[in-house]
């Protein structure tokens, strides 16, 4: 037998261009067998592109890929699968209307005389799910399950295909703290078994915790590869952003003013079942404060926001915004006093096939000067889009006329933030606004939200990330199974305490009665 080469995968001098942008410029990445190798970089640094090249989704203009020291050609994902390379994409590639099991076996079905052998497949998937503690409901439709579970489905897909090189494209962006811990443990387990992992992230603490080595990219260029044990978060973030970054949010004490949003006994029906997902919830948000709704994904936060913003009808209770009852108002009327950074940027936030400038006026195209007598004023739209792009540093290939679908996730989010914050409404509803973003962008968005607060706006933030909740909010409301189980002050609360509330182990109401 030939001597085992050092590297299982080598990507040498990869260059990949898109119209108007060099996504990868002479990048080299070497992955050792059984290591967890983190790929770090800002949004649009070219991490996803590089991985897509490895996975066969893009063909590089220059450069070669070697597996076990031999050059290989990866023309499409089938080639990648044949080489046992698997990938969990940032935006999951699942068939929404199929069940979890069908999604896992899709493309790798076991058949007998041309008939599906689902029993056998089910047994294998159950075994894998058991072994790695990846809990999924095999018979649920993908459109009905949480993003966290969708990700576990994606991981099971890779395992089902016996992949030995696993690519995780920003896997933790959508997970709760507990789920992240589980994922980290799973990844270490994989590495121990000799699987090699490429882990794309821009969350420094995760990279520090789980990876063996880190490769840093910046604006499509290779910056360097370091051993995780020889570095620290500050050094990594400086490498990534190219300047010293502030890792903690800086904000003064809040000066709460008038009540902007008043929610009284609100109930909202669930998307999944016939019962209410939000049960009899009351709270208010005042000018000049950031109120954060914390909780583990799927405890009614989504429905609560949908009820507030009008995307779903409420089943009971009342909502008052700026003194007006909006419980049954149209979305458009609510929008007069509320801006909304939605949870799902692809479903609600953007029209992906529209251009950036068309998306920038999505909420405002009816207002002057963007329209006159029913006609859209293209010149004003262009001017406005250019201003927002400049002010909020939204990067794209062709500026205002870029089709939004072609932009990186972080810049898509920045476009939404720019559009919503610039509307200057008394209430800002921000749902996971930093999901999937890099430290530079997070720092920026946090600053923007604090600035909104300081300008006297009321901010209602929904976040799944403990760090964000603790550092950004002035008041924390914890949601558990559709109810608010606690109102906490971040200054006097520890992350552990908050975690207990989120997990449903403690609740204020009960304490009081006990």
């Amino acid at each position: 037998m030939a001597q085992q080469p050092d590297y299982i995968i080598e990507m040498l001098h990869i260059t990949k261009e898109f119209p108007g942008i060099i996504a990868n410029d002479d990048i080299t990445l070497q992955l050792k067998r059984g290591e967890i190798h983190a790929l770090l970089g800002e949004n649009g640094a070219g991490k996803s592109t590089l991985m897509s090249v490895l996975f066969g989704l893009y063909q590089p203009e220059q450069g070669i890929i070697k597996k076990n020291g031999e050059e290989v050609k990866i023309k499409d994902p089938n080639d990648a699968t044949a080489l046992h390379i698997g990938m969990v994409h940032q935006h999951f590639k699942l068939v929404d209307v199929f069940t979890v099991l069908d999604n896992i076996i899709l493309g790798a079905e076991t058949t007998k005389f041309g008939f599906l052998q689902k029993k056998e497949a089910r047994r294998r998937v159950e075994e894998l799910s058991e072994r790695y503690g990846l809990k999924v409901d095999l018979d649920a439709k993908v459109e009905d399950i949480t993003v966290g579970m969708q990700q576990r489905v994606e991981i099971l897909k890779m395992l089902y295909r016996d992949n030995e090189i696993l690519i995780f494209d920003e896997p933790t962006a959508v997970l709760t703290p507990q789920e992240i811990d589980e994922l980290m443990a799973t990844m270490r387990e994989f590495a121990k078994e000799g699987k090699s992992i490429l882990f794309i992230s821009h969350k420094l603490n995760e990279i520090m915790e789980v990876s063996d080595r880190v490769t840093v990219l910046r604006k499509g260029k290779y910056i360097g590869t370091v051993n995780t044990c020889d570095t620290n978060p500050q050094e990594l973030s400086n490498m990534m952003v190219g300047r010293p970054v502030q890792l903690v949010v800086e904000k003064g004490p809040s000066k709460p003013g008038d009540v902007v949003l008043e929610v009284e006994g609100l109930s909202v029906p669930s998307h999944l079942h016939k019962r209410d997902a939000v049960k009899n919830v009351s709270f208010n948000v005042r000018r000049g404060e950031i109120v954060c709704i914390a909780g583990i994904d799927g405890n009614g936060q989504t429905e609560l926001i949908h009820g507030l913003t009008g995307l779903d009808k409420v089943s009971g209770g009342s909502i008052k915004l700026c003194g007006r009852d909006i419980t049954r108002a149209s979305i458009r009327r609510r929008g007069e006093n509320m801006s909304h950074i939605p949870e799902d940027r692809h479903k609600h936030g953007l029209i992906l096939d529209f251009t950036l400038e068309q998306n920038m006026v999505l909420q405002r195209f009816r207002e002057a000067p963007f329209q006159h007598g029913g006609f859209i004023n293209d010149a004003e739209v262009r001017k406005y889009a250019e201003r927002l792009i400049d002010e909020y540093d939204v990067r794209s290939g062709q500026g205002p006329v870029t089709v939004v679908r072609s932009m990186s996730g972080g810049n898509q989010q920045k476009a939404i933030i720019a559009r919503e914050l610039d509307r200057d409404k008394p209430l800002v509803v921000a749902v996971q606004p930093t999901r999937g973003l890099d430290v530079g962008a997070i720092e920026y968005i946090h600053k923007q939200l604090v600035a909104e607060r300081d300008a006297g706006q009321a901010v209602l933030l929904v976040s799944l990330e403990l760090d964000e909740v603790m550092s950004l909010s002035d008041r924390i409301l914890v949601m558990y199974e559709g109810e608010i189980v606690g109102e906490l002050d971040p200054k006097t609360t520890t992350a552990q305490e908050l975690g207990l509330y989120m997990a449903g182990a403690t609740r204020q109401g009960k304490e009081a009665t006990a």
Partner: protein, 416 residues
């Protein structure tokens, strides 16, 4: 100059046009080959006739018949061109109908039904309002607008079903097509509009010339003498331009397209998604029906009312007209004219050679088929371009890309 050409080539629109033209060329080539094969296998068609057939498939619109020696002659034929424009009128309208719906994310296969409802309403209004009392010009306008209104209502039905019950508009449209066909048959069956005067034919409704409500010629008959052309084509072109303006320049068009591309995001932005789906189908219905009104109000067409057995082709032909034009309303004008040109070539083929017009139907079918592939062809064109670019000297590439890279870095720095 050269740079400008490259820019033009780089534009998405240019590639769409090229793809459509390529589809047409391939379609015509295939048509010619079919003529060749038919000529070769049938014993009663000579080599000379086959060659004539091919020439007519390609240039039938310019045919001026046969000269004294019996050879085909070509030149400007005002009658053919006039007829082409006349037949293009309803095709442009049904093409617009499909195109506008498609741009808003809906597939309007209900054009035939809307077309029939438009026919019924406009003919009944045109023939039913006494021309001794109301001036014919006013009747014409009432009939045209009334026809469009009927089509709009009919088109709105699949829209309503889609918006409120989430039933696919294609299914609902197929149903409404046949319902329309039967309603129209029944309504004329019991009406007084059956042509009983001219006993040469049966099953037809009176022409609008019967009470002088025929469409104005707008002087087009002096440009194209001997043809059926009338002002309808001008109305159709004006409507196409209006549709282009509606879709690209107005807030209504923006809303309709937003709903079509992402209904959820449109709703999030406070756009009434249900209303817009209904509206978009109603507009589509009005356009199809308008085509019918322009065709049957012309005065030189007769409507056979027993439609319950077959849906009008003009309705379905709106689909290829729209697809070939990549659903651009301005493009629809040209593809509509092109389709009717093939139609005219078909009649020339029948008149002048042993071939019949069904050959042109085959050519049309081929083009229709290829128009569905025009996206693929577009990708091939783009692919070729990319490869060419990749071959270019790498040095030039670096030079070209360097400035934006720097600018980007600078911007990133100062923004923070």
């Amino acid at each position: 100059m050269r740079e400008r050409l490259t820019n033009l080539y780089g534009k998405d629109g240019t590639r769409t046009v090229l793809a459509s033209i390529l589809s047409i060329i391939i379609g015509l080539a295939v048509g010619s080959i079919i003529v060749l094969i038919v000529g070769a296998v049938s014993s009663n068609i000579s080599g000379g006739s086959t060659w004539d057939g091919i020439r007519l498939v390609l240039f039938g619109i310019l045919s001026t018949g046969r000269d004294a020696s019996g050879a085909l002659s070509f030149g400007f034929n005002p009658t053919s061109i006039g007829n082409m424009l006349f037949r293009a009128t309803p095709l442009i309208m049904t093409g617009l109908s499909v195109a506008v719906a498609y741009k808003t994310g809906l597939f309007n296969i209900g054009a035939p039904g809307q077309y029939l409802m438009g026919t019924m309403a406009s003919l009944m209004l045109a023939l039913g309002i006494p021309s001794e009392v109301v001036p014919p010009a006013i009747i014409w306008i009432i009939a045209f607008v009334g026809g469009m209104a009927a089509g709009a209502l009919w088109g709105a039905i699949p829209g309503l079903v889609k918006a409120y019950l989430n039933i696919n508009e294609v299914l609902a449209s197929i149903m409404t097509n046949w319902i329309a066909a039967n309603i129209v048959t029944w309504a004329f069956e019991v009406s007084d509009f059956k042509n009983l005067v001219e006993s040469t034919k049966s099953g037809y409704i009176y022409k609008t010339t019967f009470n002088d409500v025929a469409t104005s010629k707008m002087g087009l008959d002096s440009i194209f003498p001997g043809s059926q052309v009338n002002g309808g084509i001008i109305v159709a072109i004006v409507i196409a331009i209006l549709m282009y303006v509606l879709m690209t320049k107005t807030t209504l068009g923006y809303q309709l397209k937003a709903c079509g591309s992402n209904r959820h995001a449109a709703r999030y932005a406070g756009i009434k998604d249900k209303r817009n789906i209904v509206l978009s189908m109603a507009i589509a219905g009005a356009l199809s029906a308008g085509g019918a009104a322009l065709y049957y109000l012309s005065g030189n067409t007769e409507f056979a009312w027993q439609t319950y057995q077959a849906l009008p082709d003009t309705g379905f032909n709106g689909i290829p007209v729209a697809l070939l034009a990549a659903c651009n309303p301005i493009g629809v004008i040209f593809t509509g004219v092109f389709m009717s040109m093939l139609d005219v070539a078909g009649t020339q083929l029948t008149a002048l050679t042993p071939f019949n017009e069904y050959i042109t139907d085959v050519v049309i079918a081929t083009i229709v088929y290829l128009s569905a592939f025009s996206l693929v062809i577009k990708m091939l064109i783009s692919g070729g371009k990319k490869r060419k670019k990749a071959k270019a000297a790498p040095a030039a590439e670096v030079k070209a890309e360097a400035p934006p890279e720097d600018a980007d870095a600078e911007k990133g720095g100062e923004a923070k």
